[in-house]
Assembly symmetry: C2
Homo-oligomer: 306 residues x 2
């Protein structure tokens, strides 16, 4: 079975769709990768591109895309709501199949070196690939944005990992690193009291002593009546599962149910937003069905096709 | 996304492994299919071969394998414990991905016609492909076995679907049809009273008024102490889930738990034996996690690689 990694570059162009298509075309033209999705946001002036494939294919596609972004995107003229520091702002690599986190960190370092050598962009390694604890979080690296970056990289604390104390004059710098697949997961409650959702969100998230791989917040969701469906109003715990292999979905659901009891509230439904790896769901099935001695790699038929 | 079907031919040779390899080689040589597994049983004198791929690839591989089996296996000289009626005794097609049951029935008819035209074996369509209700069950078709088949096919009730009222002189007849993927699923109980397992097995199986797609039985499992693990003795409900899309695993587990309470017994663990389609587990995760509006085909990353 072949190694599969995912790559989700964010580029700083969300208005000129010809530029976006030209960048996406570089992925389409690369052998060994599958384009999964891309979407542009005009107010952010930013596009997110998702593809996956063999590590070699993914690194080739990301490098080709970065070269095109450097050619076509000029940060000195860029405006948008979303903070950014580079033409290709961030380029995470995500292990999906038969590939460890450690191996993916190694690929991210190879990719970072190639992006500097072939596209001329200084590179920060971030997340699991970071060279120091203060460089793990993208927000910390990006602080000061493109406009402040030429000065920031003079500080030895913020020398890029590849490319030295400099930025590309129009393409800035790029963060490259390994992170685990995110699962965007919402839990809807039988109440419209947003304080209950906020309280539960606090219990389950790392920041307040909860699960290590949970980022969460409470929201009030209000939908208008539409297509014969009634209007709805309910509190929601909105969760980013940052590593479902370490903090599984079922454990978060069970703790949420237990906490909700305190307010006489129950879970009315959950939602997975966007893509999830199969294993995030299979792990929960194993728990609830009490399956013992199960080897998902060997016993799930679909794995033989990947 | 491409259609994927599975094929599990059973051939009537489990002792001469050169013959088995020659048949399996026909699968290996066919483009568009992946050999998943094959195993031979000497006392049954029978081998089970499992492969999957595109419908066209699977039909090509099954036809090539059948020709080789006809060439090398002579039923007039075959002895073994397992009932059999043909050199290639039975050849089920199983829809795995992006393929409906109806389409797979159609493929099974194409395959049946090819096996007669190219390998000269008269074919019975069985299971979902059967041309009459009395021809659904393999055991009913096979009754009388190879030795009685030449006479049996003279009865208009038992005329083969392809090939007329005749058998191949040395290769007999073959049953071909569409069936859903089987999931072999055991539920282990906190008791060594096998009568509890037998009683639960009766409750959940179709034969006694239970779930339509469950075949089940109760057994006493006794394992000896080995490798530092203690001896064990417990009752087990052993289940064949014949169509997990119609009777999902979680529903059988929940009814088993509810019934077990009657004897003060609980479920200590479950086992999936061999292969399972991903969806059999994902469906249970959706239930227990209370996921709403989930589209597994679009939201599970691995589906984009199949």
């Amino acid at each position: 079975m072949a190694k599969i990694i995912e790559c989700v570059p964010n580029i700083s162009e969300g208005r000129n769709l010809e530029v976006v298509e030209a960048c996406v075309d570089e992925v389409r033209k690369t052998a060994g990768v599958t384009l999964l999705d891309y979407s542009s946001d005009a107010s952010h002036n930013r596009s997110v591109i998702t593809f996956m494939g063999s590590p070699e294919g993914v690194m080739n596609a990301a490098t080709a895309l970065a070269k095109k972004a450097v050619e076509l995107i000029d940060l000195t003229k860029h405006q948008g709501e979303h903070p950014r520091m580079g033409a290709i702002d961030v380029c995470p690599l995500i292990p999906l199949k038969d590939c460890t986190k450690e191996e993916t960190v190694e690929y991210s370092k190879q990719l970072g070196e190639r992006l500097f050598n072939e596209a001329g962009i200084p590179i920060f390694l971030y997340e699991d690939s970071a060279s120091a604890p203060h460089r793990v979080n993208l927000a910390d690296i990006r602080k000061g944005q493109f406009e402040g970056m030429a000065e920031k990289v003079q500080d030895p604390k913020w020398t890029p990992d590849f490319g030295g104390a400099a930025i590309h004059p129009t393409a800035g710098v790029t963060a490259v690193g390994c992170r685990m697949p995110l699962v965007a997961f919402n839990i809807n409650l039988s109440t419209d009291d947003v304080e209950v959702a906020k309280a539960i969100a606090k219990v389950i998230r790392r920041r307040n002593g909860g699960f290590d791989c949970v980022k969460s917040n409470g929201f009030l969701i209000e939908t208008e009546a539409q297509d014969g469906k009634p209007a709805k109003r309910y509190a929601q715990v909105s969760i980013n599962m940052t590593d479902y292999t370490r903090t599984p979905l079922y454990r978060v659901v069970e703790v949420t149910k237990a906490e909700a009891k305190r307010w006489g509230v129950h879970v009315v439904g959950t939602e997975i937003i966007g893509l999830t790896p199969m294993r995030a769901l299979v792990d929960s099935a194993e728990y609830y069905l009490q399956i013992v001695d199960f080897d998902a790699d060997k016993q799930i038929i679909e794995n033989y096709l990947l």
